[in-house]
Symmetry: D2
Subunit: 347 residues, 4 copies
């Protein structure tokens, strides 16, 4: 008997990327998993063919209005909704349903931070979906509730966590993350028009205002004696997908590049989706396009006294939907890498 | 025992796309097929990691110098070389080896045309790798030699063949095909620099000068009483991958849009990689990115008296490497669609 | 005393490009022309700095609500509004005010065509703002009302008019025009988001449905014995600005490339904004970016029996605002080229 | 009598942008300045029309081989050559000729740094062409030799200099500068192909390896008691032109955003090419495209304890050729802003 899957918010970019990955998942090909419901709000009544013509296999399927009752019979529910809707649905579906939430609702542990950055009441905290964070994989394998991380926190955490954990750096990190425009979602707004974004670069929600700032700080601080302060500058760049994170911090006395590389090599060695590039090579976002990989480079800038780490991810795959599927695989006891491309679509 | 595969010209765009698809092919996952040799000329000695960092699974593999002797033991040889090198290799490897040639050497039937467009001596003609062309699938299933079609001919043929075959149009077609820059290959040249191609549109090899012109004419004429004349205008556009073909021709008396759509519906119905969009919807190249699909729209412009067909393909997938894998599947008696994505990486 | 200029619809792309050109116009630098009013609807109350940060010289100016009474005292009024609003304003401002309308309201001569393509009542016909069309320059110099042409008709007319006028071709033209996304205007809509348009190509309003189709036919038919039928296929491409038009038609008996080039050379010789490229060179949209030029290439495809002409313009400059300024210069008796860049911003 | 100008290295991106600006300079229009010689190496013998089709006014002019003797009679010589060629030419032309060098040869004061980063012998130091640096304008007005700054140092210096000079920050700055691909110049190389750069982001010459690092440090240290250490990370992004610089440093005790903004407001007030955006607005590279402006935003991140400054320039205009013209204007006693656009080509 096949597991019944629902995607709520199916026609947004996160939802449609979850669908793309499910359609390439061996469990779908083998009939162990069926896409039972596609739900949406404003797009209800339209077909996949109209909304997501890149998924021709299910072009005739229609988006239904979001219906919490109908979710009760599901085995797996992916939530790809704006912030604030997940708690109600999660409560309704029952504890045995695997709920994987791509929104921010259950990511933060500190309610004050949640309220400061998102407003409203904090719904709670769920196991956080970066299996590469030491200690998290086991929790994710045992849960029926997953908080999928934000796209920037994924790139920044994977870049800096090994350094923080190994004590290579002082706990004050400076991060500039450059993102493709799909990060802004599939909603009409003048600043995200092609004519406004092609050929242009622009920072936004700078100087601590971006909602992913406390999430990055929470992740890194988990492995640090002292809380990690984060200066985070997101930049919008003219590409559809991809995040390049440039992260640096003052290096601790006596740490050189050999030591830094050794720490990262050890960290990445057993992780299927982390790929440390050879010295001298730099990550490129096109080399992770559509894949679930995070490519990494680590260097020491002796003159400036800083460790520099650069990571590249696809914001919709490892940064959102790929992480969701990776966590699904873990929670179901399947091969963690099943259905998750390692090769990217390049050039 | 697994089949031994070699890719010659492995580090170019066609070669690396063949590798991407092989790494996602179930036969590779199941051990029925092994990537035994990666060969190249100028890149010999370098690793996949250096040359194609988007394929981390085989990052440590090295490119070897092209060695015809070493190819003798292979079961399958993909040739992704410049024109003119295939005949010699094909002769050397023996008749039982499946040779799939992505160059133009064996595409044309008319030696005079070959010499006019490519220069030198015509090497011969092999079964032509568009299985969707009526009559070709059986030939491709029975051969050990395949001439993979050019990227533009793929988009243009799939757009117009149903109309030609059904006699919907007069045999004088006008085609403007707009392509991403990977079509120019991975060789350094000023006109293909990012600074020259981003933000710009430019036609090239116009007015019958493009080498794909006779190939398109050959394909369409195969299904026409009278030879089809082709006005072909290729345009370079600022995207990495994708070809949008706009094709039109004078419509025959009495043909209306219903009739035209019926012809295309019937043609596409049994073809897994042809997707006729509903009336009113237009193909987008991003909706076939990385997939082996060809999306199609067909319309009648009553006022102008012309049939208009628009197709979208990924020039490196259905336009080259995807077709190569599709032909491999056929020749080996495997599922034709095995390892070939239908869902695209969008947005 | 300086002339008082108003721009109505100042914050859209046409309006802001008019402003850019006015700020670079010698008459503005010399104080012969002042930008007296910037009007808008939804943006009223906002500053130029907020809406058009690329115009820092007037960053502090505010957009006022559109006020027909306030326009009465103006010497020059540029209308950059959606279709349907121009007649009322034109009537109100008085006959001595130079009104230059970038909308479609007064472009077509055939009311039935206007009603078919735009709906509603046809407001009338004004002198049509392509001074390069034989006979139009004098009319434009003598008028106080100008209908600025559409962007596609500008590129298509300048490409084909010389051929039509000289009888080089049969009156049945096939045009594929590829445009940057600013052509869609500055209004929020999902299909024009950066994530939907970058990396993608898509035709739209095909098979006679685009509103610029009858305008192209009208322009070409003006120089033809028989009415010219137009098959027009617009394509959206991933660049902010620029239109590349590929246009072809059956060539008349006995016309060869020398004859065709001679016709175009003669036509372009005295036109400051038409630049016929040497044989073998192709127009590039980046080479007209921000300029008022139209670059042209003309060829004969002997095998297909067609004349091929390719033109490149900047849709916002020669395609809209540049034409508006060129017509202003003519109507005021100023140097026609004043304030209109010939050099483009490339690469 | 008009001044005779030569551009050496005319067909590269710096050279052609100098030409674009000269063609728009009032002195050229008024005949006070003539473009007397265009010189090049590999492109000698080709026409401007072939090499720089965006400059149709001088399409028929040919590039001559670089000839030091022929430069002797010039009043103004722009050098747009690779590093290492300027000294010889400068010596040959005589002291009364205004030589404006876009290469790095004369930028650095510290010979050891020059040799470390560029190799070979340090040729000397010339007045450095950022007139906005306090003290430099007078020197530039009095010189016949100008070292035009690097593009990254321009963006970084204008971002941080006010803060350093006013003592707002500790002298340890972290800079990530994201650049368009024209920064790599007009030379054929695989990593800068459109297919490699579109849709991708990639850092390069990181961790102190970029040659502009010591130049930034030199500029900032000029206004600091203690030498400023610079962590500099350049990133290549998919746009033709533009540099967005994100720069931050630990803020000094007691400095808040009001104080920081006041410092920047005062600094920018009298500078025609510096435009401090209102609080809450961020620079966009498209808003400086083709203009000589630098747009700036300054903020304090209280939580991270850092000052954040973001600047946008066009790397070829304010970052190279615009600065060269600005310095020419100063040296000739002309209006500093003559011929330098303030309005940008947007969108």
């Amino acid at each position: 008997m096949s597991l019944r899957v629902a995607v709520v918010g199916a026609s947004g970019y996160a939802g449609s990327e979850i669908l793309r990955l499910l359609l390439g998942h061996p469990a779908w090909a083998e009939g162990k998993l069926e896409i039972s419901a596609l739900m949406g709000a404003s797009t209800a009544g339209q077909t996949v063919g109209e909304l997501m013509p890149h998924l021709p296999q299910i072009a005739d399927r229609a988006i239904e209005p979001t219906d919490v009752d109908a979710l009760r019979g599901m085995d797996i529910v992916f939530l790809a909704l704006p912030h604030g809707h997940s708690a109600e649905i999660a409560q309704a579906v029952g504890e045995s349903t695997l709920v994987i939430d791509c929104a921010a609702d259950f990511r933060l542990r500190d309610s004050a931070q949640w309220e400061k950055y998102y407003g409203g009441t904090h719904a709670g905290t769920w196991p956080y979906g970066i299996p590469e964070m030491p200690g998290h994989r086991a929790a994710l394998a045992a849960t029926r509730r997953v908080a999928v991380p934000g796209c920037f926190p994924t790139g920044a955490t994977l870049a800096l966590l090994p350094a923080v954990k190994a004590g290579l750096i002082a706990p004050e990190v400076t991060i500039t993350s450059i993102t493709g425009v799909s990060g802004a979602g599939k909603k009409a707004a003048v600043p995200f028009l092609g004519s406004e974004t092609m050929g242009s670069l622009k920072a936004y929600n700078t100087a601590g205002k971006h909602r992913h700032t406390p999430e990055i700080a929470q992740n890194l601080s988990e492995y640090s004696e002292d809380p990690v302060t984060v200066s985070f500058t997101p930049v919008l760049a003219p590409l559809p997908r991809g995040i390049l994170t440039t992260a640096s911090a003052p290096i601790q006395e006596g740490v050189d590049e050999d030591r830094a590389r050794a720490v990262y090599e050890e960290f990445c060695a057993s992780e299927p989706f982390l790929h440390l590039l050879p010295a001298g090579q730099q990550p490129q976002t096109q080399c992770v396009l559509g894949s679930n990989m995070c490519h990494l480079a680590v260097e020491v800038d002796e003159e400036a006294g800083r460790l520099l780490v650069i990571s590249a991810i696809d914001n919709l795959t490892k940064g959102t939907a790929g992480a969701a599927i990776q966590c699904m695989n873990l929670a179901l006891g399947w091969e963690e890498t099943a259905g998750l491309p390692m090769a990217a679509v390049a050039p």
